[in-house]
Every structure is written in structure tokens, then in C-alpha cells.
Amino acid sequence: MSASNWTADFLAQLNADISVVEIDLSSARLWQIESHAWQRFAEQAMQQNLRWAAGWAEQVQNRFLINACFEKHGEYVLLRTIVDDANPELPSQATVYPAANRSERHTQDMFGIKFAGHPDNRRWTRHQAWIENSYPLRKDFPVQGKPVGITAPDMHYPFIKSHGAGTYEIPVGPVHAGIIEPGHFRFQAVGELILNLEERLGYVHKGIEKIAEGRTPESLSKLAGRVSGDTTVGHCWAACMAMEQAAGITIPPRAALIRGILAERERIANHMGDLGAICNDVAFVFAQMQFTRLRELWLRTNATVFGHRLLMDRIVPGGVACDLSEASCNLIRKEIVELRKELTEVILAVDLNSSLEDRLYTAGFLSEQTAAAFGTLGYVGRASGQDFDVRRDTPYAPYDQVTVRVALETQGDIASRFWVRYKEIRTALHLIEDFIDRLVAGELRSEWQTPPAGSEGLGIVEGWRGEIISHIRFDADNKIARFYPRDPSQLNWPALEKLVLDNIVPDFPVCNKSVNGSYSGNDL
């Protein structure tokens, strides 16, 4: 089957059972179905091997739109249904797609929409900051809410229990021992062996979706750049892409190339930091020091060339806020040559180290089946045979001009994730050189046009952690009505629960680091 015709075949097959209304949206196919068919669609989609990619809801007057995004062969379908606010209920897709599980729980907590038959409908994003039966993302819920003086801890969350001789629990967090984001991990163990891990996230929920409402495009792109600080370029790009689609704007070619350079620089900075940190978690400090040194040099160039070490707010609606001079291009080219040489030296020393092999090989194993079932993304998915990369499979400017080589491994362990990330650094270095060579003179920013009220856009980019999906709907007067960013971490966190099983508790930090999910991007 070719990449493009599965949608037509699938639609024909669906129409025999479910009536689908096709709506033309510039960014994706939008299929609207009756709410009672929500789960049946998922069953059919699963048979066709569609990947469940994202799910979210929005309120339009007294109705809720419920969305789910599916992908196959780089082709996206946005599925939508409408339920009335008098009885917001529809059958769950999480029974078919485990990936939809937490997303539906988030929608349940934030909108009060019930997913009938959900396998685990405990609260997820809600702790105790707002009371049960009130829903922050409903339009009648005030941004300020009704907070009490001190928000109580979420004491009575019904964690999974273990029983039997010798089993015990280890509660970890939310405040962890290192310089790291907060979250709670509940281990059940026998001796050192992990029997079960349950993640309890939501601690850094800061109302991003709610405070996005009513913002201008400029202000939204700033917020999007802080969904997850390490992915500021990725999220900002996805959000701007969505807004530009809604407004019907094409960005200038030079701006697209600069966005590509920014995104690849972000990928390299994060990968270098994490390669070092993975080694540090197994006490191999040499690599940690070398990689943090290289990362620091890289960030200093960011500051010199782009004016910000982490590249925040460089992408703006309609284009970019920074230019690249000829001198800067030369500086970057020189830096890349130097970095390649250094990486080769460091990686040879790392590769030939048997103590590192002992700790990284076979540890934290994620099978291809589990990775596929949870829709695992980015380097975590690619280390477990999930051959997908938005840059190659749904290319957007500037990736439509170049060939993106996607690193793939099937071993599924920490070492695999380590090597995939190393290869991705190499690819990214090539891409930056390629983009610099292709840099054309021209505008940095297209003029903004106020989008019509109700218009929407779906921005999909490959951030350094994997596919980012950003949905935006505009209100009248250039104001945002709804912003939903789906960080890849939302799909990768559940994979961590699986890949630590049968590992020993002391290996949890390195397992966790090899995935490095974003807490902030998950909790919103």
C-alpha cells in the first residue's frame, strides 16, 4: 500500500459501518463521526495498524468537541465527535489503545467528560487544587479558580497495592534527590527486583491550557516555549505552525531554514546533556564531564549567535526573531567540524569501556510490541524498532528539501537508546550544515493576518524527544480559544513503567534518564 491511499481505502471500509463526515482542514484530514461510534472507530483503526497519536477536547458553547489524532505512513487523520454538555459521555478508546489511557483521564479531569468503559478512570491530572466535579477547562470555570490557602497533598490516591511475603513499597518523590523535576514514583519490589512501578505525575500542572485562552499569537508562542523548557524550540515551532495554518500564512524560506537550524541545535544540546547524564547514573564520570563540557560550548555559541543559550523565543508567529550573518554561519560550520572530532574521541573511549557495557546492555528493555502498543515516540520508540520520524515521514519546511536519515535500533535497551541518540547528533550536525548551505536571502517574518474566528490549525513537528502535536483554535479578534500541546513525554512515560520491570531498583535512575520524559510537558 502506498503512503497516500490507505486513507481512501480505510474510509470506504469505515463507511459501511460508521458514517464519517469528511471536513477539509489545511493541515490534516478531519473526519467527524457520531459519538457512539468512538470506540468502534478505534477498533477498526487498530486492525489497520493506525497509531493513536493524541487526544484532547474543547468546549464550543454548550457542546464539547472530542478529538483524537491517528497516524499511519506519515498520513494524519484528525478524528472528531461532538457531545452535548448535558450528558458528556462517549465510549472509551483506551480499551483498544493503551496510549489513549492517560489522555482520556486528563480530559475527564479537565472537562468532566466521561469515557465509558475506561479501564482505569482514577483521577490523573487533578490532585487537590480544585474540587471534584469542577472542571478547569470548561468556559465557566474562572482562571483563578477558588483556591484555598494551602492546597492539601493528594493523600488518598488509590495506588495499586502489592501483597505477599517479602514484597514492599518504595515511595519516591515528588521532591527528588537531584536537580530534577518533581513527580511521584511508587515501586513495589521484592529484594532489589522491581515488580511494579506506578507513576503519579501532575505535580507541575500549572494550568497552561487554561491560561493560554485569550492570549494573542505573540503571547501564546512565549507560553508554548515554556511548556517544557528543554523543548522550547520544538513546542514554539509546533504552536506557531498551528497558528500559521489557522491564519493561512506561509513563512519565508529563510525563516524555515533558521527554524530547522534552531531545532537541530536544541536536539544536539539535549542529547549531549543526556548522554553524559546516562553515563553519570552508572558512575562513569569521565563521559559526564566530557559531554557537559561539549554541551556548554554549544550553548555558548547559541548565546553568541542567537542571543539565548536555550534558544527561547527565537521562533515567533510568522517566522523567526533572529538572523544568521555570514560570520555566524562560518562560526557554526567551524564549531561543527570541531565537535565531530571531539565526539569521535569521546565516543571511542566510551564504546570500549566494559564497565559501561555491563550496566547499559540489556538493562531497561522495552520490547517492540510494548513500544508499539503505547505509541512510544522519538529515540525511545526508535531504539525499540518504531521506525517513525516526522521530519522524514511528514516533512515540513525546511525538512522537505533534505534527506533525513533516521537512526533505528531493535535491541530496546538503555544502550540502544544511547546509540540512537548518538547517531541523531551526527544526523543533526549534517542537517545544520545542509540548512546553512541552503540559506537564501530574504524576509525573516511574514506579516501576520488575523485568522477568522473559529479557525484551527494542527502543528506537527519532530522535537528532540519525538513528535510534538499542537492544536490551536482561534476566537474572534486574534485571540486564542484553545491550545493543546501534546509533548512526546505523554506517550513515553507509560513505557518507562514497563521497561523498568525486572530491573533492580538501583538501576531506576539510569532507566529513567535513558527515557528522560518531561514532567512539565506531561502535566501542563
Binding site: Q144, K146, G207, G229, E345, A349
Partner: protein
Amino acid sequence: MLRLFKKILTTGVVTERLKTPKDEELEQLGIEIKRHIDKQFSRQAVLPDALRVNANLFQTDLSGSIAIRQVDAGSCNGCELEIHALNNPFYDIERFGVHFVASPRHADVLLVTGPVSRHMQTALLRTYEATPNPKWVVAAGDCAACGGEFGVSYASCGAVSNVIPVDAVIPGCPPTPLALMKGLLGLMTVKK
């Protein structure tokens, strides 16, 4: 193994080698920080009598450092990346007597980032209570300083000072490693 040693030797000590103006500023800052730490964290005065015989030993070995417990109370993780950088070989803040510890019970300073999310409010309060007196709180980053991009909402308490007393504020989104060092020095100069 030989490759490893070769790389270590050829890399050398970046902390001293690079003498760009920025790094001179860094050295200067560090020396200042160390001077203040030495002045204020000399244990001699607080040593119980039984230990006083070993006072000299304590002075040389244990005085002259501060322990920081970093708490992310709702940050986007941007500030954490830059706080991490303080430990890279360029800044290597530990050489000035500043080190990060794993428990608030070992800490002199809480370095708090993020707007305080309501879901982290109790955790932050408990961390504060668990830190022994005398203690200082530094709010690092725009969010911690004033709520930043997130402000106060149903989900966020905003600035750290809305939840616990703050002794110093380091603005920036995120503050650079140098800004963080200046902020720490500022704290010590004020708190004499």
C-alpha cells in the same frame, strides 16, 4: 582505557585554561563567594565544648562551604538546565565551596525554581520545614521571582514568596549560570 586517559589529558582543565574576559569574571565571582562563605560558615563559634579541642581541624576541613538543596516547585525545567550547568567543568561551582545536596536536612540554602504549582505547595512547605535553621531561600528564575509567564491561577500560586519567605531573587528566563552565581553572591553580601 588508554583512549580515555588520552582524552582526559588532552582536554586538560578547561576551568583554568580558558582566560576569556567572561571567565575572569567567573573566577572573581567565585573567589568573592568563597570569601563570604568562609566568613559566615566558620563552625568555631557554634561548636560544642566537647569538640572544641578539634576546632582547628573543623575549621580547615568543614568550614567554608554551603549546601544547596534545589527544589523545582513547578518550573518548565529551563532553570534546572542552567543550574545543572553550574556543575559542568567550566563553572565547577563546587571549587568555591558551593555544593548541591540530596536532602533539605543537609541544606543551608533552598534554591527554588518555577511558579509554585498548587500541587507542589505542600511539598515545598514541608521541604522548607525540613531545612534546619538558619536557612536561606533563593528564588531562581522569573517564574520563581514573580510568577513569570504563568502567574497566579487555579493551578499556580505564582512567586515563591507567596508560599515561603524568600531571601534573594535571581531573575532571568532562565538565569544564566553566571547570573546564578552573582545571585548567590548577592545573597551572602546582604545576609552578613
